[in-house]
Amino acid sequence: MSKNEKLLIYPFNVEVMPLLRSKKFHEKYEDIVLCSLKGSGFNGKDASVADDGEFIGITIREDFDQCIDECSTILVIESQHININEDELKKRIEIVRNKGKQIIDLRASNENRSEVHKCNSVEEAYNIFGNVKINITKDVTYELSYGELLQCEGLVDITTPVIGVVGTGKNTNKFLTQLSILQELEGLGYKVSWIGSNKMCELIGGHSFPQFMFEDGITDTEKVLLFNRYVKNLEKSENADVILIGVPGGIMPCSKNIIGDFGILSYKVFQGVNPDYLLLSVFYDEYRESFFNEIKMHVRYKFGCNLNTVNICNRRIDWEEVRVLNQNVIPYYTIDSQNISDFIESMKNNTDIELVNIMRKDESRLIVNNIINCLADDEPNLVF
């Protein structure tokens, strides 16, 4: 798609905000139309209403038919809504297709599995996971028979510094945090390999999280080993200064009812790759000082690494709604970024963990400075 073509993002919701706030995305897609589902409360408002951040300058619309006529490409994103009418959505995508428009569908789907990867040796697995271009419009399947071989070789060292970004759940601004770190590092001239927590990262040069981590038919041990190889191959093929990994979902259950995946995915990821710098994004709450020490210990003993920074997201879990909905989703409400800044200020001298608010202007510079200080060789005299 050329830069002059118009892109429609549908159904607009807060998921897409990190992209809209990213220079990289705007370099690629200049003319953007946002259309939300009816009754989302967004209609006629500036896109910034979704994350309560700085003004964007694009007004959200609900007139889908009109929007699609104005655009040449539609980007269909994951909806945060719990009651989405899939048939209606499919019908709309079909209409768009019949009109000859280009469709980029980023939603998780069990359909259109058109790529099958077979491999019978570790070498083949190396090649596949090192070079596979993960197609964002399709899912891929794997037929593997190399398990024992892989296990014999165990883990391989990743020598490039790894930055990990995790959260206590979905919607904790992990993606925005990764994008901010990425742009800041690239601005300073560093080359970054990026495995993003959200499929949308593919649109701006990232690698979406490898599908094999979610597949049935591969054991957990194999997944850990494969992820290790996957990152190793990325290291070899891209030769970047740093590898940025955003892990989807949360590192722990939020409650007895909101369990996510119990943090199993992040556990597997960090068994395969040990991060040199780890940032955790959490929902806002009135945490006591002890919380940060406890979460630090939790990370140390669960993942075997240090927790360097905690981002306090400008969203708070709506526990009343949790009780009403009784579903494995995290209802939240957005709060003023100033509240987060005030909270961080009040905690300033009470915890040794760096607390940040990614919604604050220039916060990414602060985070990247911390990263550079942490990763820089602080013992230049040491030979061995």
């Binding site: 409360g41 979704a50 719990i82 989405i84 409400y333």
Partner: protein
Amino acid sequence: MGKMHVHTFDYLGQKYIYDVNKSAILLVSEEAYNDIKNKPCLEQDNRSEEINKLIKKGYLSTNKPKKILHPQTAMVENQLKRNLQRLCLQVTQNCNFRCSYCVYSESYDHREHTMKNMDWDVAKRSIDYLIDHSIDSLSIGIGFYGGEPLLEYNLIKKCMEYASNNVAGKMVSFTLTTNGSLLNEEIVEEFLKYNTKVTISLDGPRHIQDKNRVLANGQGTFDLVTENIRNICNKYPEFKRNLNYSMVVDPRNGFTCIENFVEHDEELFDGASVMSSIISGYYRKEGLDYTEDFMAEWEFAKFKYMLFLVGKLSEKYDSKIMKMAFLDLIDIMKSTRDKYAPLGETEHHSGPCIPGQLRLFITADGEFYPCEKVSEHSKVMNIGNLEEGFYYDKVKQLLNVGQITENECKNCFAIRNCGLCSMVADTGNDNENKLSKELKMKACRKVRFQFEDKLKDICALKTCGFNLEKFQVKGESYE
């Protein structure tokens, strides 16, 4: 020297300590009980080994809040701008019944029957207001309230149609509270289409219903309502799933006849849930006397239900009315296991929700009130309107109702299980934007009394081997 933040009580010959910070009930020896009761200061010498052991385990702390402020206070604007959940629309103030205890009746100060109906413009703007202020809500709901809301059925239908056509992606639910007399096939078919949950106000068998719930000409309404519902449920059995009964129990009558009615009239009640409540004492001009017979029958029904809970009586005694009454108790039993963090420096008693956020009541004129239970004649309860939006300062004032009894709350053993909201401190015709400390204190005394009663019930159930996991509502484990 700080005093331990505990409450002592004895029950069935046993001595108990309720530890507020741990939210736990402790069974202690008589010696320890007397020691704690008579010498509540922690820094006392010569404590027994039993007490020292409890102190070592973190019990008997003197920790008390230093300030009363609702934790949601700073979140009020965020919640009301982005996370409105449900509306309750007063579609009409008119009713075809003239129930003696109705809040619109002469027994109460805060409402009166008029011919006033909500017009479509107000209803539409109310729904648009909900949509506009629920960006973060995963589900929204619209309730229809009266008077008798079905007198304005066409408006209700238009509202359901409008909301359904204009909201995609979120769960949209509809509820309605009705006296049941005007339900007909057309309405039921429409309600089934929108999965509308209907609550029927029905007080009990004929002699109870006809005593309080009458038509304007004084004629009883039992036959009119029950025959109507029976006919509808026969034709639309699936409608029963959407049906609830709300029973307003008059403590001047008996209780057993009501319970028998619910348990034995399967045609009406099988598959439907029943919520019972005692006639509201708030805003009432005259006091409400409980007869001795009522109390005796209520206590006996409770006793039988508790025997059922501990497995001493068969499922025949699984009373629908009592089950709902025990929900609160089960909540406390659950919370004693979950709430282990000690009280913070800043606290507020449990009970208040952010006024308007969960169930914004919008009158026929478009005025905002926290919910349908509060007085429309009270200035302090008027928290905004469709033109001006919410008055945030007033919302915060109502949310922080505990501040009018700040000292009492700091020392109260029921702070975590209070349940009071600003309604209890409203005179009903306040004209000065003020809540009444006197009314609040009266309600506080009642809460403390009731909470101690609940603690005793919990002790009785626990002693008799009650298993929390066995308590089920509508076929699902309560947990």
